[in-house]
Subunit: 453 residues, 2 copies
Amino acid sequence: MAKPSIPKGTRDFSPVEMAKRNYIFNTIREVFYLFGFQQIETPSMENLSTLMGKYGDEGDKLLFKIQNSGDYFKGLTDEELLSRNAAKLASKFCEKGLRYDLTVPFARYVVMHREEIAFPFKRFQIQPVWRADRPQKGRYREFYQCDADVVGSDSLLNEVELIQMIDRVFRKFGVRVCIKMNNRKILSGLAEMIGEADKIVDITVAIDKLDKIGLENVNKELEEKGIPAEAIEKLQPVIMLQGTNAEKLATLKQVLAGTETGLKGIEECEYILNVLENLGGTQNELELDLTLARGLNYYTGAIFEVKALDVEIGSISGGGRYDNLTGVFGMPGVSGVGISFGADRIYDVLNQLDLYPKDAVNATRLLFVNFGEAEAAFSMKVLSQVRDAGINAEICPDSSKMKKQMAYANAKQVPFVAIVGESELAEGKVNLKNMITGEQSLVTPEELIEKIK
Amino acid sequence: MAKPSIPKGTRDFSPVEMAKRNYIFNTIREVFYLFGFQQIETPSMENLSTLMGKYGDEGDKLLFKIQNSGDYFKGLTDEELLSRNAAKLASKFCEKGLRYDLTVPFARYVVMHREEIAFPFKRFQIQPVWRADRPQKGRYREFYQCDADVVGSDSLLNEVELIQMIDRVFRKFGVRVCIKMNNRKILSGLAEMIGEADKIVDITVAIDKLDKIGLENVNKELEEKGIPAEAIEKLQPVIMLQGTNAEKLATLKQVLAGTETGLKGIEECEYILNVLENLGGTQNELELDLTLARGLNYYTGAIFEVKALDVEIGSISGGGRYDNLTGVFGMPGVSGVGISFGADRIYDVLNQLDLYPKDAVNATRLLFVNFGEAEAAFSMKVLSQVRDAGINAEICPDSSKMKKQMAYANAKQVPFVAIVGESELAEGKVNLKNMITGEQSLVTPEELIEKIK
């Protein structure tokens, strides 16, 4: 057959990539556990009735649909078939689809398991999702999401803890980040104030350009977007918003004095910032940023986004508070707040900054060279002791040429090699070579374990 | 909308189930690493050209196929459409399918990555697979496989190490098992000896019934299957095969004296058993079992299967040596040997024997009750210290009724609860309650950490 390939937009992960990815997932998972979150998993495939209509028309098109088993033509008239209406017939041919994100399956999960869940439910989920997007650099058709959410609690302490989690995750990675925070209610307040509720995205996009294009051009853009002059005038202090978070909030308080929603948003931000400050603050920068408008239709309170400071890349984590997670499945009133870590981008950041701990990548610590049956028999005895001590170790299964075995050791980046030839065998000892320093020493099995541990 | 559901044959995994499953996967993974295996992952979807024809006609039908995006009717004539040939048109509607096992994707991986792989390649893979099987008790449409294989080495030391791995995994689980071993070459030798190569499965099935139906009925069954009387006569010592592994091999040596292949198989078994014995043997029983015929068309040397001794359940692990893993993808001569652990059955075994370590299941060690803003502020300071010490801990985000908070603690099976009321706050101390013993004590934050660690 032809040379095999994999579907476009998908990836194989080789051992070194896997080790790095596991390091990322393990680090995030540790922090999730540290904060009392519990893991769940949902099936890769959901009923299409669960998925369709949840991600907009564009999202529906991007769902991977699974063809029904057996005779999927059953019940279809010739006329329907010949209509060749691909979108419409997909729902006849297919009842199931692959998960598009972790949020909708989570909402479905909460509804189905409501009786057994102890609320507030702090769940995390690390699983792949699939989207039939056009593949391009950094965008895949199969990729992992790492989500943590608290549902069933309105307390802002949840927001505080999520910020602490973000702070702790990136401290563990050794990546300097800026944690940006906004609040949907502040944006709603602004829209209310200028009487242009539907222009909020235009406004945040324009404000975001201040540094690049200057105040005059920002105002011009707002004008072009149809914002009345009077409203633009009112927005001036917001566009020019600068200083510390406290200073920004003070300015906003004046600007939004007349809007109840806006003031509520400011109050929430203040509360979160105050609690954090009393706890000693975050190690990473935490910045109030009004241009943050991610998932605007979805979030109802706090909005978070994380930017790496030392690498040019999009946001590497984000989230926020939402109302009514499960309403679409007939269970109203469940609000929540969550964050999501972008594993693929974090992978790129850690690669660029070379921040992987060496021992996260090298699995095998010790390799025994194989010189033949008698030597291998002794080596395997020592090997068992080494493994009993919890050290990852192996022996070359074939007594091939020394050069080949050392090439294997190098390819696997094994830090220690154990050589047992005739003389070592006679002495019951092992010649241990440190592959990094080149140093060699003749040691007993016990000394060997001591040296490597 | 209607009450949501999930596709039949799939499962949600709730926190306790996930914790148990993670314990299983982590234990197996640890042993894989201990023996120098490296993890890879392959995409959930493969090209159908990679999957089709690899699992027999029945397997092809059980593949989950993914409908092409966009206009999947393109290029189809009306006639083809109206033929309603579901199987044939599936290959027009679908180019991709979900992974059916980990072996074929692994073979595809080896071929595609041959230039970068250092052979012998010791890889493991823990990922879900999908089969459109009729769902029934214990059989799912989405389930995990845990495979470890060594490819590119003919050495029998690989077989030895795989047996050691099985032994170590089940020792770690605390499950008593019988590791059964056979060799395809011995079975081939038997077939050669009686001149009935295609009857090997009938023969092993009949032999397997000796204990249940007795010698006479076994011979009758063989006769019914068309084995000539002379051949049945020759088989008598094999049917009655008993005693230690050494005794069995001694008998087989006589019976198979005239067959080169059979003797080779005996030699391989002897070698594996001898090496293991020199290493102190296995802790679990290791039994030569000629009735083991799993994957007969696939395996070419050793065959393994693992049975739990204290639970009635099918095999919980199995594997063997195969030739020519990658031949179908144009890369001949790559042989290998591997094992697969059945996570779902191991889950059931550990459940039945109640063998999960308690701390594998309970994530959160300490819960702070929330009595209000001031108390929570102090609690969260202590909480940060506790987390810095690596202890998984949380605080109730809402200062709801004590009863509700304690119910939450119980539902999550948290072993320690920290109570900070007005008087504790005044003293800067914490009232620590051990939820198992009921014991309470007033402690400083430092003492708290000491007590829980």
